[in-house]
């Protein structure tokens, strides 16, 4: 099912605090979106709106032209996987799979059980007795096996060890290839998960500051290193994100698409030009100091 999610002028206000401010974005089937932002940036607020957990203060979300909030047809087609407090949950993981199967028409029980085997999740144990990592595994299994056209994982990896997270990432990619949908991965593990993303959504202080395919975004981040005066000459007129100086050597991170000719010109000055990682871009684009200066 091809679906198109339109987010228009979306804002959320909690009393005095504006958690989201005029967010506009379009999401398409078959893409994995990496949602990144600092603590309190508004990631979970945005995801809560997409999952109809909350009504926008202003603006709207539509799926294929229909308003999403309280929409009987579309709400069951959105899965929101997030940390859940299971300390009082006496039911077993099996009961949770049954519940998901009952309410999600696309839920694949066989796949869920295969995943339980792969992740080594005990289905007949009360959930409160599972470790935090295994509780997260249960959430992730339900999220993947629901095969909802919109599937959201909000820091779904909490408590998982590195090998378990790797299995999770592998399953996301493989199942997305089999059943393309909109997947949103909200994460703080930027370096670890960036290879999963088709597009990056970066939120800072309630505003969407980046909404781009990851390869295009990465083509905009460069560090230029060399003798200070030549670096200054090279970056003149470019959008600078940060600079570091050690003795006579200077390194400047710029955020701008550089034509090949420009890169060659800089290199001819004896300077080193390197692409920067998403992790570094994220840190600089969301730092509290004055952002980028021409």
């Amino acid at each position: 099912m091809r679906i198109n999610v339109e987010v228009k002028n979306l804002s959320v206000q909690y009393k005095e605090f504006k958690a989201l401010n005029n967010v506009n974005v379009t999401l398409e089937s078959g893409k994995i979106y990496g949602l990144i932002g600092r603590n309190g940036a508004g990631k979970t607020s945005l995801l809560s709106l997409l999952a109809s957990y909350r009504k926008p203060s202003s603006g709207f979300i539509t799926i294929n032209g229909e308003s999403l909030f309280e929409n009987e047809e579309w709400m069951p087609k959105v899965s929101f996987v997030h940390y859940t407090d299971y300390k009082d949950e006496h039911d077993t993981a099996k009961v949770y799979l049954e519940l998901a199967e009952r309410y999600r028409s696309t839920f694949d029980r066989e796949y869920a059980e295969q995943l339980a085997t792969v992740f080594k999740l005990a289905l007949d144990k009360p959930i409160r007795k599972l470790s935090t990592g295994m509780q997260s595994v249960l959430n992730v299994i339900i999220g993947l096996a629901s095969r909802s056209p919109i599937t959201i994982f909000d820091e779904a990896y909490q408590g998982m060890d590195a090998p378990t997270r790797e299995i999770f990432y592998k399953e996301v990619l493989e199942d997305q290839a089999r059943f393309p949908r909109i997947i949103i991965l909200s994460t703080h593990l930027v370096s670890e998960m960036e290879y999963l993303f088709d597009k990056v959504l970066m939120i800072h202080k309630g505003e969407l500051v980046v909404h781009e395919p990851i390869d295009r975004l990465l083509q905009k981040g460069f560090s230029i290193t060399g003798t200070a005066d030549k670096v200054d000459q090279a970056v003149n007129g470019l959008q600078k994100l940060s600079e570091q100086k050690l003795g006579g050597t200077k390194s400047v991170m710029v955020y701008e698409e550089l034509p090949e000719q420009k890169v060659e010109d800089i290199q001819q000055l004896g300077l080193e030009v390197e692409q920067v990682s998403l992790h570094d871009l994220f840190i600089q684009l969301t730092s509290d100091k004055e952002e980028g200066s021409k």
């Binding site: 957990y53 009987e72 709400m75 519940l99 998901a100």
Partner: protein
């Protein structure tokens, strides 16, 4: 009624009936124990139906409280709209109320067969409500309506806390106390009531028909409040 409303209603009813399967037998045993060992005339006159009704008020209040804290987030998380949850909760709780009172009425009727042969049932009266005939029907109907109001009161209180935090929660407790107290005054239940105890002992009516009519009005008012609170309530990510 949509298929989804039917499904959620059935599920909510089944889950709460599992609690009833524990609750009712315990209450019945407790009734017999109390009847044998507590020799106060007021207790000796109490039928199983009246005894169960009194405990069912608290049972339904608790079911109402759990209804939002437990079921609302689970169902919205599974893509069920608030409207469907709202309709299904009302229907399932009505079914629950009717089931509890019907089963208890049947067992109470079975006990009446032993009047005269088993001493403990000799002084039992069906209820102290001033009902005209048909006494059984009006008693069961009144008890059903009142415990449904207790369910709605619990639901209102928990929704108040869930949506508005402590201040709204206490506001809803105050509103629920008013609804329950007015109901009690209409029916003039002569039972220990900590809530009504704070008000002067007045009786608003001795006519069961009027009491039923006013309690239906109270139900409509509470449901209107609950609808207002649930229709766009935010679900917590926790």
């Amino acid at each position: 009624m949509s298929k989804l409303v039917q499904k959620v209603t059935t599920d909510l009813y089944s889950i709460q009936m599992k609690w009833v399967a524990w609750y009712l037998p315990i209450v019945y045993i407790l009734y017999l124990v109390v009847l044998v060992f507590v020799l106060e005339p007021e207790i000796q006159a109490m039928s199983l139906l009246t005894f169960t009704f009194q405990t069912a008020t608290i049972f339904m209040l608790v079911c109402g409280i759990l209804s939002s804290f437990v079921f609302l987030p689970i169902y919205v998380k599974h893509g069920v709209t608030r409207k469907t949850y709202f309709q299904a909760t009302i229907l399932s709780s009505l079914a629950l109320v009717i089931t509890i009172m019907t089963i208890t009425a049947l067992v109470t009727w079975v006990f009446t067969l032993f009047d005269g042969s088993i001493g403990i049932f000799n002084n039992v009266q069906l209820s102290l409500l001033s009902t005209a005939d048909p006494k059984w029907f009006l008693t069961i109907l009144s008890y059903c309506i009142v415990i449904f109001i207790y369910f709605l009161a619990g639901w209102l209180i928990s929704l108040g806390f869930y949506r508005y935090g402590a201040a709204g929660g206490f506001g809803c407790i105050a509103a629920a106390l008013v609804f329950i107290s007015v109901t009690d005054l209409f029916y003039n239940f002569k039972t220990p009531k900590p809530i009504v105890g704070i008000f002067p002992q007045v009786t608003l009516t001795s006519q069961i028909g009027i009491a039923i009519a006013f309690s239906l009005l109270i139900i409509a008012v509470v449901i209107a409040f609950v609808h207002k609170i649930t229709k766009d309530i935010a679900i917590k990510v926790e």
